[in-house]
């Protein structure tokens, strides 16, 4: 028997929630709220910035449900948050796959873009934390749209510079 054969224990599932709460209490930089992504999609969609095109029915249903939720409740349901979280994770996973093939020099080159991307994501989060009082404020909406738009742009710029064309995800507002 090898000492490396010793069993590994699984960290309890609820541990992250406690750690995350403590990080926020400890005043670590603002975190990115998943529901914020969903809310920004709704706002962009309703203002015509994000054309669903031939997106599948599930997404349409999610947006309809989102509209209902936002009218009545300030916080999105876990199911909807989870749906958007999955989509976003999938996109970042694709990016991670692309990054896997890069060398240190290439990574160093795109590091400023990655920093810009995450900076915009955090800014978007800050804005969406004030969603409830500002939802009808036009200036707030425009700022949010700009940040969201720029964030997507930077994400696709990163994809564009590091991924082969055939591996790049389709932009959400591209007509197929």
């Amino acid at each position: 028997m090898n000492i490396g054969d010793l069993p590994q224990y699984k960290a309890p599932d609820d541990l992250w929630a406690n750690i995350e709460r403590q990080i926020q209490q400890a005043n670590v930089k603002p975190a990115h709220a998943y529901w914020a992504i969903a809310a920004s999609f709704l706002i962009l969609f309703s203002l015509g910035f994000l054309m669903p095109g031939e997106e599948n029915e599930t997404r349409d249903n999610v947006i309809i449900t989102l509209e209902k939720e936002l009218k009545g409740a300030p916080v999105l349901s876990p199911a909807i948050r989870s749906t958007y979280e999955t989509q976003f994770v999938a996109l970042e996973k694709e990016l991670a796959n692309c990054l896997m093939g890069l060398g240190q020099d290439e990574i160093r080159t795109i590091r400023p873009k990655l920093a810009e991307y995450y900076g915009l994501a955090s800014r978007q989060d800050e804005l969406l934390n004030d969603l409830k009082p500002n939802a009808k404020n036009q200036q707030w909406q425009q700022t949010l749209i700009l940040v969201e738009h720029k964030r997507n742009k930077v994400l696709y710029e990163i994809f564009g510079s590091v991924c082969p064309q055939h591996l790049q995800p389709q932009k959400p507002n591209e007509k197929r």
Binding site: M1, L6, Q8, I19, I23, Q104, S122
Partner: protein, 185 residues
């Protein structure tokens, strides 16, 4: 001429996760946690010998990790840096519970454990769990995690001699226990 220590070449995916964490991105923080959670939890448990204390150590350790990421200087892998913080958090837990190292004579640590064919991971785990805190912590860090006495001494603010003696007595205890179970030769 001043010698500059080379920075550690990070895995590109980890580099991207680190960048996200430095920007306060929650998803990146979760990804970083997910990469290390089970290994670090196992380590915390082995040091504290208590699941509840291991969870506390994980919480304090990872909060420390995220607060201190800006200070990460890339002199080691990110994983090694995180592990050091987690080990300190777990060790702190033992100390808070008044479970100190026993004062021992300094001895050599060259005792060799030679277990026979009947040894299983479960037996070894059980034997490790039966060790006093100081013995167990040093045994886990050196024999399982691969740290040197020098590194252990620095992490736990003990002398190298104490680390060596703790390991010697840990092995002696293990030998005794395993022999009692008919496993050690």
């Amino acid at each position: 001429m001043k010698k500059v220590s080379p920075s550690y070449q990070m895995n590109p995916v980890e580099e991207a996760i680190l960048e996200g964490c430095l920007q306060g991105n929650r998803m990146s923080q979760k990804k970083l946690y997910d990469r290390y959670k089970d290994a670090m939890y196992t380590l915390c448990y082995r040091i504290t010998n208590d699941f509840e204390m291991a969870q506390d150590a994980m919480q304090e350790g990872f909060v420390g990790v995220f607060r201190g990421l800006e200070k990460f200087q890339r002199k080691s892998s990110l994983g090694a840096w995180i592990k050091t913080i987690i080990v300190r958090a777990a060790y702190k837990k033992i100390k808070q519970n008044n479970r100190f190292f026993e004062s021992l004579d300094q001895v050599a640590d060259e005792l060799i454990l030679d277990w026979g064919e009947y040894m299983t991971p479960d037996y070894l785990e059980k034997a490790i769990q039966g060790l006093p805190d100081g013995y167990r912590t040093v045994f886990v860090l050196i024999e399982i995690e691969g740290y040197s006495h020098k590194e252990v001494a620095k992490m736990m603010t003990i002398s190298e001699g104490t680390s060596k003696s703790q390991l010697f007595h840990a092995k002696k205890n293990l030998k005794k226990q395993l022999r009692a179970w008919g496993i050690e030769r």
